[in-house]
Point group: C2
Amino acid sequence: MTDMQDDAPKSPGSGPSRRDFLRTAGLAAGGAVVGAGANAASPDPLITEVQPYASFLGEGVDATPYGMPIHYEDHVVRRNVEWLTADPISSINFTPIHALDGTITPQGCAFERHHSGAIEMSKDEYRLMITGLVERPLVFTFGDLLRLPRVTRVHFCECAANSGMEWGGAQLNGAQFTHGMIHNMEYTGVTLRTLLNEAGVKPEGSWIYVEGHDASSNGRSIPMEKALDDCMIAFNANGEALRMEHGYPVRLVVPGWEGNLWVKWLRRIGVHDGPMESREETSKYTDLMPDGRARKWTWAMHAKSVVTSPSPQMPIGHGPGPMVITGLAWSGLGKIARVDVSLDGGVNWQTARLGTEPGDKAVTRFYLDHEWDGQPMYVQSRAIDETGYVQPTKEQLRAIRGLNSIYHNNGIQTWYVNENGEAENVEVS
Amino acid sequence: MTDMQDDAPKSPGSGPSRRDFLRTAGLAAGGAVVGAGANAASPDPLITEVQPYASFLGEGVDATPYGMPIHYEDHVVRRNVEWLTADPISSINFTPIHALDGTITPQGCAFERHHSGAIEMSKDEYRLMITGLVERPLVFTFGDLLRLPRVTRVHFCECAANSGMEWGGAQLNGAQFTHGMIHNMEYTGVTLRTLLNEAGVKPEGSWIYVEGHDASSNGRSIPMEKALDDCMIAFNANGEALRMEHGYPVRLVVPGWEGNLWVKWLRRIGVHDGPMESREETSKYTDLMPDGRARKWTWAMHAKSVVTSPSPQMPIGHGPGPMVITGLAWSGLGKIARVDVSLDGGVNWQTARLGTEPGDKAVTRFYLDHEWDGQPMYVQSRAIDETGYVQPTKEQLRAIRGLNSIYHNNGIQTWYVNENGEAENVEVS
């Protein structure tokens, strides 16, 4: 900011470093010093000249019945990594978490992962079956779902493979790519418990098997205990209908558990006396251990965090002085209790400020207000959830899990920030 | 929903009315009865036939870097009422609250109100001045704002004229038009307290006067007590940058107070020893009383609620049986404590279920799970906030305030729902 009256008396409340910021930032921004009594060596024309906004420029409210981001924000979009999946259509893209703030992910920015493409299904065409070990097999229309008791809850959805490319070492240079297979939205729908109670689960019904209307069906088994606990049949996200790519008109929400269980275009809920051991839970979504055996049913996404700014796509952009370090933390086991930030690669830690009240299985925003001395930093964050679980280092994970898997990498991320404020994906040992 | 096995034993937990729903809804949806042992007189082809979704249909993740609503939802848009304002460009549109659920308003659906059109200003061009009774007049660039401690909070923004067309009687036939000048978003920014502390408010600085970069400037006075309490300089809403029509890159957030104070494209904060009594706070935004005198400084939006479904744009759409009555409640004085719903025009009331944890000066969603007997209803909702304030009837408001004003109508809304489930804006006496 620019000090417009540099000879003014000092405010009692402002310390020396904040005063330095006032001077430094003013100079960095072009050195305009304006205002009563100021020495205006190089006045800022954006202040001193009449701007075009002083005349009428608007197109009126009919211009955008559905509002879009301004073109200056065209860079805040989902991106893919071309070499990541064999089939460019059956693919993945990433939420631009580096460029967002707060906790809510706008639907337009929320990552996609399809096994056989997004499908365009109307509410009129939609049917949901409950079959198997139930007293009354049922078929619901979309309209039927709207007649059942409704809930609204905020939850994150994280792909099991989020950060999966980083098991072997720092690779993708941006928080969007290392940690962007997550979104956090306010869902509205019907609990799975309500639906299952309508059908009447038989005593031997201990698992459900959920499938989508798309060609892949993406069938996954879920234990009945979880199905009856907090799962939802969601039709709205952040107030409005789901987007096509997120399962319009209906997707399953499985709070805290890996995203592939959140079946989109939900078609059938089968009640069974055991898991299905389907293609999606044997050929994929198991974690291959060093000895060749596989961990399976690793559903919960454990506590994790990442600094979103500064990060490779978000350099500091100014010289020494005050800055905000911010990021996201979440846990599939409950609420975030605390987030620590290290600036020296994990030697010393300070507790960050939680910007929002932590929600159950929802993303929490953290901030650390920092006085940067202009020296390089190794920036890390570490999440701790209400169960006491502490986000591990990558070394701790690798010591147990080896390097065979791409799933469930919740290790601590390091960004090396150089003296120019530019950040890079690195590891510290 | 369709009962696929109508001769199955009854589940112990389901009462007679829910069973009636299972039968009735099945018949209403076309009467398909399918499944093992069922008498499939008219099988539902959407269940029994192979659907096109069984083959690959997707375009891949590159199709929509920024995701848009599916075309089936094209009706969920902001709308204006052409005769409401003299100048069609300097105008108003309304949030489609009837078609949304949950509490978050997506930016694309959030109402607009401009005094001289939306302006297209880049972050690089943006400047914010603090002038007047301060120790250090300051100019902030957008980058400067990003260096200051940041907060994230959810708040509603309601135009003082929301429901203003209803003072004289029921007029606009839709919740979007009677109550749609409200939105509720998660804002990220810097507190006004932080900025004012940077500048150092002099002891005699008791009011601020805030102005925008647009031609109207929309200058408004705010007492220092409010400015230092909970006001924010916001640059993000629901995670991403503000939309142009909401003040990109920066708007003022004045929690709980009327929307015209939430100055967009915020240009200057003047610190003064009294209010400015500007055009916007004398010719507009005062409440003309029956005796010709005007109430002024009526900033806080008092507790209010509306049933969004059923409503004129959202008929029930099915016959007797289970249904969900839902709506929104909010208070500019704090949190919502309770919402009551009446189905007989205010004679009897039942307490609705709050769908979300009430936030401070934020919208709360309420639900009432109702067994509709198919008879006409006079549906109302009544909000009570944590201060004990009870949303008044329109008669109670008119008895004191008369009919001269268009502002601050928070009276109880009535929808008449006929035996076909169609709703109409009416008043009951």
